[in-house]
Symmetry: C2
Subunit: 472 residues, 2 copies
């Protein structure tokens, strides 16, 4: 799968905008997900475009020379999105990191794809604005990456996902055509919604070169804290009850007892190793009433401790276990590693059952499976911890992983709430959507990228090893 990329030398790119050097190429072989699995494919070249014109020139030439192009930014994806699976060019967008325009009166900002999510918040914070769907990884992941997977985060339960906050895009198609999607008007019904088609398409339909994001006004009242429960059943039932009661909550995160134990050990805290629900309330009026409503619902489910605060430092302390959870789980047992960490999401009414099922699978297969998630969305992040040197244990872990995804579909949910399909979950796409819908997706891919130049080997299941959409 080696591709001759010498045509790059003919393009109007500066010397420091492309490289065939081994070191540069190797650093673009994988994203987090692939790295964890020891997987990755070294691209034949790396290109750092500085403008939409650069992106257009590279894509047009790559399509002409039948060379695959895989967009790359922060490399924080979990499902191998940034792996140049069929070789070719890794298109590194991190140098396109400008704020192009900012219109606070319209709650709008235009940014290039390489801008870090948290930098958007920093940029607009002085005007009392923020970008609500920022994922937990917002300080290290880019706007382009968030758009690629239609990311979401803790505040999605109140504010929605990335797609809800992208008003329009400038994007480049495989043949180099630059398209503008959407409108600066808040509402349009003009033509097909290309914006929401490109959002979440994981770099397989177009390369985003500019995004018009909507912003929200920061609430006047913010309170947060945590609740501790005796059992996971109580905690998940309480979340379901809160959501069905239409509680106005801005973050509602479930953490199971095993994760709590990991956090206690990692942080040296002496909280009970018990299920917790972390909460944050946003409002301009009546935040205390919502907290009181939440407490009374949680009491119906036997909450053991319910601690809220309006003080920043105290909120920070109460949230610490949740904030450090990813690191805590990673260091839980040095001999164990998380197998395919990711998330599923189910309708909220099925959330308690999904959580129960995850723990039952952990018991049945005798593996630690710490679970946590954006519970208010019905979201569950799992980590099946296995000894990677023990093939039998890895195999058991793989079974647990598959069964988790299958259960999510049985409950009417999705195999990926916010991390995309990438390479990792391609085998589940048809299980989730059926043949008809997947064939329609393939038809769209072929229509916009007939040569399968853009990020081949992602999203679509391959029926034959190494097959690309254009061959299917």
């Amino acid at each position: 799968m080696t591709h001759d990329c010498s045509f790059l030398e003919e393009l109007p790119l500066a010397d420091d905008q492309f490289s065939f050097a081994e070191g540069r190429r190797e650093s673009h072989a994988a994203d987090w997900g692939a790295q964890q699995k020891g997987e990755g494919v070294v691209p034949d070249a790396v290109v750092w475009p500085a403008s939409t014109d650069d992106v257009s020139a590279v894509l047009a030439a790559a399509t002409e020379h039948d060379v695959p192009v895989t967009p790359y930014a922060a490399g924080t994806a979990l499902e191998g999105h940034a792996v140049p699976a069929h070789g070719g060019i890794s298109l590194d967008l991190t140098r396109m990191d400008a704020v192009v325009d900012y219109r606070p009166d319209d709650f709008q900002i235009d940014v290039e794809p390489g801008v870090l999510g948290a930098d958007v918040d920093d940029y607009v914070g002085g005007d009392g604005l923020f970008f609500p769907p920022l994922p937990s990884s917002g300080d290290i992941s880019t706007v382009g990456g968030m758009i690629a997977t239609d990311a979401s985060g803790m505040k999605t339960v109140r504010y929605g996902e990335v797609a809800d906050w992208v008003l329009g895009l400038e994007a480049v198609l495989a043949d180099g055509t630059v398209v503008q999607t959407g409108s600066r008007a808040k509402k349009t019904s003009s033509g097909y919604n290309l914006t929401d088609l490109v959002v979440g398409s994981e770099g397989t339909l177009a390369v985003v070169t500019e995004a018009t994001l909507e912003l929200a006004g920061r609430p006047q009242q913010i309170r947060g804290g945590r609740a501790i429960f005796d059992t996971l059943e109580d905690a998940s039932d309480a979340v379901f009850d809160a959501i069905r009661t239409d509680l106005d909550v801005a973050r509602i995160e479930l953490v199971d007892g095993l994760s709590a134990r990991a956090a206690n050990e990692y942080l040296g805290t002496d909280l009970p190793d018990a299920p917790m629900v972390f909460l944050e309330f946003h409002a301009n009026h009546g935040v205390e009433e919502e907290i009181a409503l939440c407490e009374s619902i949680f009491e119906d489910h036997g909450v053991a401790r319910f601690e809220m605060s309006g003080d920043d430092a105290e909120m920070d302390r109460l949230w610490r276990a949740r904030r450090e959870l990813a690191y805590a789980i990673q260091s839980y047992d040095p001999d164990l590693e998380p197998l395919h960490p990711g998330d599923v999401t189910v309708p909220i009414s099925e959330y308690p059952a999904m959580v129960r099922e995850a723990k039952a699978l952990a018991d049945e297969y005798d593996l630690p499976v710490p679970c946590f998630g954006h519970a208010g969305d019905g979201n569950l992040h799992y980590s099946v911890l296995v000894d990677m040197d023990d093939p039998e244990e890895v195999e058991r872990g793989e079974e647990v992983y598959s069964l988790l995804l299958e259960r999510a579909l049985e409950y009417g949910g999705t195999v990926t709430g916010e991390h995309g399909i990438g390479q990792g979950k391609r085998g589940y796409l048809e299980d989730e959507h059926g043949t008809g819908a997947v064939e329609a997706m393939r038809a769209i891919k072929r229509a916009l990228d007939p040569t399968d130049t853009l990020n081949p080997g992602k999203i679509f299941p391959e029926t034959v090893e190494g097959e690309r959409v254009r061959d299917a």
Copy 2:
């Protein structure tokens, strides 16, 4: 453009499910927009499917026989969407009007496309739920139609548009393939977002046979009323100021002095013929604080009267002029008719300029142009009133109409906020989106409907009279 539809007799349809009778066909020749213009095309047959299987069988056979199919429901569209422009079959979905499933704990309902929007609210109201993006025509227009144009309404300023509340669809492609889009999970990043591609595609990509709608909980506090201003400038500036201040308002409707006069005459009321802003506030807490904030902002812009109430009957009275506005404008002058009534939408910061421009055009061309709209979204509905028997006046009216749409684009807006492109605004699609984006839309259309069976003659500009997308 007559098509032989005798193949319908071979399909598994009951006798009352299809008709070649002239009366039935003629009643399916136009929608409101086409009727107003005295336009329309009589289909060769009308079919009333009762199930997804019926729709699939009809579409598969129609595609095989190269017969166009135009979906029809309530026929309330403004832009000729339901006109079978190239003849063939009018597919009347009004008999598919069942509520298929209702899951109040998940805030979800599955309905067939022929269900009236207001019937959804009636169905779920007992549980304290409602369907927020319901357009003003909700009591006479169907869910299928709202999905076709990605409709919106007065409450969109707070709750968003139809697309924001459609979680998934069952839809039939031109070749009869039934696809399921989306997920019952609130959040998914699995595969391409086919749901939001079909929403707003005006029946050109697929026929929706079932929709999973999300519902919201009814707010505990509702207050509403109206504000009266001396000048339209003050009124539109006040709206802009309220929105940029992040006022939490659920409806904020601007009505110009001319429309107010029409309403006064129609209703026999003695309000001043002055610009008005109609408001409704929804909250669980602090609704009075938001009203106070609004009043203080409006006072900065010289509001003359500010009347709010929490009493249903009084709110009803205060809102009466806005509620009856469409009828009032229609009966404003029996010699005049509205030419191409519809809407444009611009960024809120440009709203005062757009409103000023509309009135300036009315003055310049010496025509009455009553304007009103969902001001908080930057939305402006216009009616250019002309004597249809006076060709010179009609021509002046056409110029005003064109200039209004062009101005909206110059302000960074859209030529259609909520009524779609249909037949009427096809000439503006490329002006708004550019050639690249329109060509991408065409490619998607060809990929999913290569024979151009579904609603030909809509959305896409024809380069040659009578040309279809497949020929372009």
